[in-house]
Amino acid sequence: MEEWNLSLAPENAAHVQLKKKYELFINGEFQKPFSNKYFETVNPATEQAIALVAEANEKDVDQAMKAAAEAYKPWSKLSGAERGKYIYRIARMIQEKSREFAVIESLDGGKPIRESRDIDIPLAAAHFFYYAGWADKLEYAFPMRKPQSLGVAAQIIPWNFPLLMAAWKIAPALACGNTVVLKPAETTPLTALKLAEVIQEAGLPQGVVNIITGAGKTGAEMCAHPIPNKLAFTGSTEVGKLVYKAALSGNKKVTLELGGKAADIIFDDAPIDATIEGIINGIYFNQGHVCCAGSRLFVQETVYEEILVKLKKRMNTLIVGDPMDKNTDIGAINSKEQLDVINRYLKIGRAEGAEIYQPNCKMPELGNWCPPTLFTNVAQSNRISQEEIFGPVLAIQTFRTIEEVIDKANNTPFGLSAGVWTDKGSKIFQLTKALKAGVIWANTFNKFDPTSPFGGYKESGFGREGGVHGLDAYLKFD
């Protein structure tokens, strides 16, 4: 019988409305940058330019900050219920335009349409819905503490979850009565700019949300500017340290959500088939461009062989390729630069004596691609088990006892997330108490919800986003 393989199932992109050129969204209007400079945003799967995007310089940043400061006066006096109405409206409009958002997210960032459609966009809308609900209930979230808004928040977000990170930043800031200047990453600005159009259409008062584009220099100008009372940053630990310095010297409140090198720990009494799915979701979700990715796998020696056989088999069912195909599991690496970083680590891993495994999958010629990869024979001292790779690369180590694995799991400068797999409830609690990580999943991995706080320890940053804790980051108290 002829082998049964899936046929192509391309998502229709004809309905998407994209401009050729995007200006800065300041004070409710799209305006040309003082810099007069534009840069291209590129589809990482085809290497074709999608649109030109304005580059904000210091004058543009200054204008955006002043617009936000001006808008803060009436916005902060608006009742919580009124603020909530605007936020609900934005949430509904994201839902209405969810297909368009999903397609743009996949075109601009390279993530599979399945993920942008089923995860990124619905979660972004859910964040706006969730924080809209808090807008008029802040006193109940912090009883007897008189919560007050901060002022202007400067927010800088990364390229791995462009719209979702914009939602994580904007929704709580607005709910708490602040105004915002947000900068998306230079490789993935389009969904944030689409969100700017939604915000304009929603009739949000001018200047409450300003979205400006540019690279690291623009971000540095934002952090150094005297107006913002709050800096919120998600991205690399390296840049996070610079943001922190700027916050200290400018006496600004700050939250940082930085890198990670999560331990995903599997005991021999775990439901093995479920762990395989968890490992896959933990490291190959979004091409591994996930700060909380389960990139260090610890397997109890007694089940090591079984896990390895099943993991490799499951890896062979993953489809790598066109992000716009509905059956794609692993899309394009977000940028040429990031692909170089990943490839450098693959080389380092081999040089360190680790054994590499990649399934034999067909990949397109154009674009940035990396097949799902795992390393075995890895030592705790290897760079591939210490440093964040931010790609679809898993480093596997074995362990013998619970004490040993706690020790190894915590032996890292990071502390964002971790996973524990066992059928025994008491063991879960033993581990979750001992692991130094902000988020710990038990018998699952990479599950997100707006009601649940998210954030790290140590070099993974501080402050929490999501849940009631996420409000705290945008409020001051008497």
């Binding site: 019988m1 082998e3 049964w4 899936l6 399945r114 775990a270 088939d273 799915e277 979701n281 699952t444």
Partner: protein, 304 residues
């Protein structure tokens, strides 16, 4: 080896519902289009055990079903016949005669289907009768009464006895776990592992006679058990989800599950079956749509 020896050192394998659901979400997100859809629909049809298991079944009813099994829709080109017709033992001879000259097999439910509440002696007599009447395949039920009391040795013993009777007569055996009666997915996995120790030809989810029939969770857990068994012993065992699968789209997702969990080698009616009565017409409707581009109303497809 006897049941006691086979079960020595038996260790239950834990199953986690979250993990099962995560896997199913991924399977259901597979989009099956164009050529893959045509090929898949044809496979689904060829894997159906067309079933009638009513007290009201008569020879004429069964003969009609047999014709449908051989000629699901002659107006459409390239439509395969279904895999088998599934009936009570007393109607095996009628079906066998009606299907003469075709590839369609006759499957007989046996061992006091659906409850299995009888003695082993009676169960073996009934099975022998069905075989003598000409059954190609036997669909037996496990004793849930003994399983729920923890008497796994007896459950396996019964399967082994029926299995040896079938083997001696060159008849293939399907073992029905009736998953809707045995509890959680952990229990489904345990029952699968026990049944697999007897090396049957298929394990099967349900009788179709109680409310809860086959679903994707249960099927996934059973497929995983089949895979583990295959890794350990090298013995290939087939799978039959039965009852509750009535639309072509869901059936295609079952095929994706088989392909991704077990592999291409299981994608034929030798190793995978659907126990269904309504599924065939939905598949035919989809096939007609693939050919003409339009959906036809149900009245264009014969019921039996």
């Amino acid at each position: 080896m006897n049941a006691e020896q086979l079960l020595s050192g038996f260790k239950p394998t834990p199953v986690d519902l979250m993990g099962v659901n995560d896997r199913i979400i991924r399977i259901k997100s597979r989009s099956i289009k164009t050529h893959a859809k045509n090929q898949g629909l044809s496979m689904v049809l060829s894997m159906i055990d067309l079933t009638t298991l009513e007290g009201a079944d008569t020879p004429n009813k069964v003969r009609q079903l047999c014709y449908k099994a051989m000629h699901p829709q002659d107006q459409l080109k390239g439509v395969p016949s279904v895999a088998a017709v599934c009936v009570y033992p007393t109607l095996v001879k009628t079906a066998k005669d009606a299907l003469k000259g075709s590839d369609v097999k006759v499957a007989a439910v046996s061992t006091y289907f659906p409850s299995g509440q009888s003695t082993l002696e009676n169960k073996l007599l009934e099975t022998q009768f069905a075989i003598d009447e000409g059954a190609d395949e036997i669909d037996m039920v496990i004793s849930r009464r003994e399983f729920l009391q923890g008497n796994y040795e007896y459950v396996l013993y019964e399967i082994l006895e029926v299995k040896s009777l079938c083997s001696a007569n060159n008849v293939r055996l399907k073992v029905i776990l009736e998953t809707g009666e045995i509890g959680s997915l952990d229990e489904v996995r345990k029952a699968s592992d026990i049944a697999l120790l007897a090396h049957p030809d298929f394990i099967k989810t349900s009788t179709g006679k109680i409310g809860q029939a086959a679903n994707m969770q249960v099927t996934l857990v059973m497929l995983q058990a089949i895979w583990d068994h295959y890794q350990k012993t090298g013995v290939q065992v087939g799978m039959k989800p039965a009852g509750g699968i009535s639309d072509a789209k869901t059936a295609l997702h079952y095929l994706v599950m088989v392909k991704e969990v077990l592999g291409q080698e299981w994608l034929s009616n030798k190793w995978f079956r659907f126990g269904a009565s309504r599924l065939a017409n939905d598949v035919l409707m989809q096939m007609a749509k693939q050919e003409s581009g339009i959906y036809q109303a149900p009245q264009y497809f014969s019921k039996d």
